[in-house]
Subunit: 419 residues, 2 copies
């Protein structure tokens, strides 16, 4: 690593030899803390750089640099949003480089855990969701697909459009569950309702879909009415813990991340309670980890309050095992989420360029960082995307093989006699 120190632009020591020395010292310390990520760090004319850097982190003032040394995770996001840290070069590549270096290091402050161990009360669950999802449907409509799916798409091939890949994701879920006309489905955490409506239309099932976000439920009900599906899809404004109904299939896409770990057993009881009927099966689709680690602190504070991406092990031990559920199939789709996020970010940036995104510059930069950081996290394997299919332990109608998922048939069969 080479360090070049030039005249300095710090607020009080600007241009002085002392300020120059301080900036150089802070930059070198930061570079050492992050490790050999392949980045350049710059404040005024002072720079410190790894060999062959992929991008430059430029600090607007000395406070931004010092803050990053004191509280890296949260401060970085805030300072970036405020424009006091700028990334010159490819944003995703820069974040990816940092993620890879930090992942190798494997550090996880013990205090960082505290925030995620509290049990989510119904009230807090609602407030967490409101903060994120009730920003306004119009905002999400700017960069999600037409049907407003705010979870990973499934790209049967990487060339698919986002619209196609979101439909393919819904089909993939339906095929894994082997939904048949006349069956009933419970969906926990249904977003703007696209999957519930898709299942009803494509598979002829009846759906009760739950969501605590008032804005989303209003939107989904209106869409069901408009598409003539209101008699087959009921949107319930309520928490998954209030579910008390039997069904043939239980599905939840992108909700588990928002369920506190202390509530996992309760979720398991809700699922097994809903699958008491013979032939019941379920699917959980969630952002996860390879080993336990809290979500990035800045995203947890500013973007997704209360969110936690669990390991498969945490879901097995917390949700499925105590509920007597047997894991039938697990698919890790993290590359698909990275690609989904790239589509979202491209659409988002177009909307920003066209002046279609409201809010202030700080919000717009925060959102840019969140989308780019998430893409980098999935690309580097810091985050995973798991689809877990399960059934009550000992259920005798599990599909014989998974071939039906990939043939031009109606998906898996959960009802064929075995052998």
């Amino acid at each position: 690593m080479r360090a070049t120190t030039h005249p300095v632009h710090g607020p009080s020591l600007a241009g002085t030899p002392a300020g120059e020395r301080l900036d150089g010292l802070l930059l070198r310390r930061l570079a050492a803390r992050i490790g050999p990520a392949g980045l350049r760090y710059a404040l005024g004319h002072s720079t410190v750089a790894d060999p062959a850097p992929v991008a430059t982190l430029r600090f607007r003032d000395r406070r931004a640099l010092a803050g990053l040394l004191l509280d890296p995770e949260v401060h970085f996001g805030d300072a970036y949003a405020e424009g006091r840290i700028e990334i010159e070069g490819d944003l995703v590549a820069a974040l990816e480089a940092a993620y890879r270096t930090i992942a190798d290091d494997g550090r996880a402050g013990p205090l960082a855990w505290l925030g995620t161990w509290r049990r989510h009360s119904l009230l807090r669950a609602r407030s967490n969701v409101h903060r994120h999802y009730d920003i306004g449907n119009d905002f999400y409509a700017l960069w999600l697909d037409r049907q407003l799916l705010y979870t990973s798409a499934y790209f049967e091939s990487p060339e698919l459009s986002l619209e196609e890949a979101q439909v393919a994701k819904m089909d993939h879920v339906c095929r894994k569950l082997g939904l048949r006309p006349g069956e009933t489905v419970v969906e926990a955490g249904c977003g703007w309702g696209a999957l519930a409506l898709h299942m009803a239309r494509r598979c002829g099932v009846r759906v009760r879909a739950w969501n605590v976000s008032h804005e989303q439920v209003v939107y989904a009900r209106e869409r069901a009415r408009r598409e003539g599906l209101a008699d087959r899809v009921e949107f319930v404004e309520g928490d998954y813990r209030e579910i008390r109904e039997c069904c043939d299939a239980f599905v939840s896409v992108g909700m588990l991340e928002h369920v506190g770990r202390r509530s996992y057993e309760e979720l398991g009881r809700v699922i097994s309670g809903s699958l008491e009927r013979a032939g019941g099966r379920g699917l959980l689709h969630f952002i996860g980890r390879d080993r336990p680690h809290p979500l990035n602190a800045w995203i947890r504070r500013r973007i997704f309050p209360g969110a936690y991406p669990p390991t498969l092990t945490e879901v097995g031990r917390g949700v499925l095992e105590p509920a007597g559920l047997s894991i039938v199939d697990v698919e890790n789709l993290r590359a698909h989420y990275a690609l989904t996020l790239r589509h979202w970010r491209e659409r988002y940036e177009r909307a920003v360029s066209d002046g279609r995104v409201g809010f202030d510059e700080r919000f717009r930069r925060a959102w840019r960082l969140y989308l780019a950081g998430s893409e980098a996290a999935f690309r580097t394997g810091s985050l995973q995307l798991f689809q877990v299919t399960f059934a009550p332990s000992g259920l005798s109608t599990v599909p014989w093989t998974r071939r039906g998922l990939y043939a031009d048939e109606a998906g898996l069969s959960w009802s064929a006699p075995r052998s």
Copy 2:
């Protein structure tokens, strides 16, 4: 439940009213302990029966009945092997009924765990394997497929023959690993060598295959020589903990059940150490559980000393997470193991009928019970069969989808560029 008490054939109280009362009492107590399994229990002319029983447990003497009440798991197997308990009716159906009832109950004595928590020393690992696998190749040749695969087959459809299904299993494993000509594979626990030879012949890879069973290694080397594969497949007589080599793919089929849980982290280190090269991936195929529970005590003592079927969670937390490995795919194939066991039992019974199985009657009955009991365990979901595919966390070449597994192609691609 109705109880009918007839004249009794107990050893000392035979024919007396006191003996008659005692037998009736013991039978009723046993029926109550097992629960409503749909069985009939008989000693002499005394019987107790659930409604519509599927089979009868007949006790030859009062000691057999009393022993079952005192130590059900171990005593049942021993008494059955000695012919002091007879099952009249379908053996698998009777065991299945009992498994289902006991599973609902969910009891697991805390002491039953002790035997499985000890760390397996290299010496004990060898001795455990010798006891089971060195009974003699000739014995296994009587009822396994031609290639001597002593792990679950994969029936692409239930109509496949056992020979076809074992080849399909090997192909399924090769396709999951996406083996390419010139790559290197390490196999831990290779049995009689069929998979190692199959991978070399079918995929053009070089294999180092490890096994602690001397008899099996001798057999496998001879087969490699005979088939002209000795230059590409090396069979090493040694424990997996001695593996110190890099490879493109690590595979282990049916060994994890014999690895003590205290050695899981060590196994993880061996695996991740062998997959340091870019593009490395691995597969574990093992008998497991939906929730932690020791293997049936009788099978553990008499058939598979030291064996333990782990949950996915135990494997995740014990083997994969500490080693920095990411789960890419999990498939539960328990129905395939039930069908495999049915094939094995039918072949075994034919060999017994034809007088081709040596040993004494006690051994032959023990083996019959083991095969039937295992089939019942997989049918009821008391046991599972997991295939777990994994790769070092963050590896960027995981297959895009699983379609390649089910297309007439060469399996998954672990080397294609992503998006």
